[in-house]
Amino acid sequence: MADTTVKLCGLLLDNPIIPASGTFGFGDEFKNYYDINILGSFVFKGTTKEPRFGNPTPRIAETPSGMLNSVGLQNPGIDAVIERELPRLARTYKKKIIANISGFSVDEFVYCCEKIDKCDIVGAIEVNISCPNVHNGGMAFGVSAANAANVTKAVKAVTTKPVFIKLSPNVTDIVEIAKACEAEGADGISLINTLVGMRINPRTRKPILANTFGGLSGPAVFPIALRMVYQVAHAVNLPVMGMGGVSTAEDVIEMMMAGATAVQIGAANLVNPYVCKEIIEGLSAVMESYKIKALEELKI
């Protein structure tokens, strides 16, 4: 058995497989499907200061080898997450989790990070400055290096937990933004969030999504994600959590060769609820087939 452990900002993970925010809820549904303690860790659904219903439905559309979502950060709000979801989760899940914090202003990010900082079960915080579904025209907060830097600086001041900034791929220069986060003390970078896309129903002559635009994810975006992970991992001196279209153990290896220290699985969970389990169970054999002894030093 090849060694699948990885170190991520001081956290020792049994394996690099981490379900991505928004595709794993708070673990509830998956816990009925398999023992989620096998996961390296997992990132919970993007949480904001206030509860949010999210966008109107339809929120989902199909695309070639992918999907669009315009869920729009539906969540019960940070207080309910801390009071209700995390204690319930702690009864089944015995490892550290990663908190995903979203917001609409620097203050909101700070508010949520300060609160989540107090939760023992949280091993790291992922700050999502890149959700394309919550602003008009799909332009996210995190598309400017200055905004990214401001958020990073502000949240770093209120937490001692490792902070990953989750970046948007809908930008001209991802490296510039990652560097701005690094300069303000980010402990790591997560990427990619979804790409802004759209579908039209030719029968109704209306956009399929009630919100017109949505975020594209799934295998279709894998080559874009891989490129951005490669660029960022070679430009900053921080661990990168790579994601975007990963659906097999081979994809995980490819993503780690691009420079990811851990790998998140998003849309694939929705199509196959057992995908993370299958990847974890198959990882060692795939490593052996490529003569990989350990996952460190895979970066090319």
């Binding site: 998956f30 219903f53 439905t57 989902i60 199909e62 969970n269 199509v271 196959n272």
Partner: protein, 245 residues
């Protein structure tokens, strides 16, 4: 794959055109996760990224029957599959109908009819003879009239063009029955009309575009009087008294 998994591999054993663009498909495999009428399955179709949700129309220990209409590429591909083809299907999804009342009225429209049949069958095995209204656009689209009859149901067919049964919509037939509870499934405009026309409590089965079908993605959320609910997990059936239009 063990049967602990709601995902399993099923073999298509029958795929038959039973009405205009409408197919009846039988899948062989483990059905132990199906526990209530009104539940659905989610089918992986070659070449499509997302699964396709289809209601369970009928099932026994080793087989389930689905009825679907060709809408786009996914249902087209399903309709072309040959017996023997194997499909990856998640079964036993959703909460389904909860049986209440002694004189139930069942109302199905188009491909909303299959889950209504599943319910009628469950009621029949509890010795409750249901009244049933099934509505279609036209006679070529009608299916399962005889099957409802065979269950002993009191059935009325409505067609929009009058080519079979009562001319009009399902709601035009509601007053012909005495009922103390209703169950319905069909296109949203029909559900709304039924909601407005019925005089009792009841349950409505909704459709929404789904990402996962098992509660993970929040794609199918719906606002109700008691907060937001996921159609795929808590639904597809909602109680009349919680629905907000």
């Amino acid at each position: 794959m063990s049967h602990n998994h709601k995902e399993d591999i099923y073999t298509l054993t029958e795929n038959r055109l039973i009405a205009k663009n409408t197919y009846r498909t039988v899948f062989e495999g483990y059905t132990g996760h199906i526990t209530k009428p009104g539940q659905f399955v989610n089918i992986k179709v070659e070449g499509q990224f997302l699964r396709r949700p289809i209601s369970v129309c009928d099932y026994n220990e080793n087989n389930m029957v689905l009825i679907y209409k060709i809408i786009g590429q996914g249902t087209k591909a399903m309709s072309e599959a040959m017996p023997g083809t194997r499909f990856d299907i998640l079964t036993g999804l959703g909460n389904g109908y909860t049986i209440r009342g002694n004189k139930p009225l069942l109302i199905g429209g188009g491909v909303g009819v299959p889950p209504i049949y599943c319910l009628a069958k469950a009621l029949a095995s509890d010795n409750i003879k249901a009244s049933v209204i099934i509505g279609f656009n036209s006679v070529e689209e009608v299916f399962y009239y005889d099957e409802f009859k065979a269950l002993g149901c009191n059935v009325i067919v409505t067609t929009a063009d009058g080519s079979m049964g009562l001319k009009g919509f399902v709601t035009d037939a509601i007053d012909r029955f005495e009922y103390d509870y209703f169950y319905t499934c069909g296109p949203e405009p029909m559900l709304k009309a039924v909601y407005n026309k019925t005089v009792t409590e009841g349950q409505l089965s909704f459709e929404e575009r789904m990402g996962c079908g098992f509660g993970a993605c929040m794609g199918c959320s719906c606002e109700t009087k008691y907060g937001s609910k996921r159609i795929c997990l808590v639904g597809p059936v909602l109680e009349k008294n919680e629905v907000i239009w």
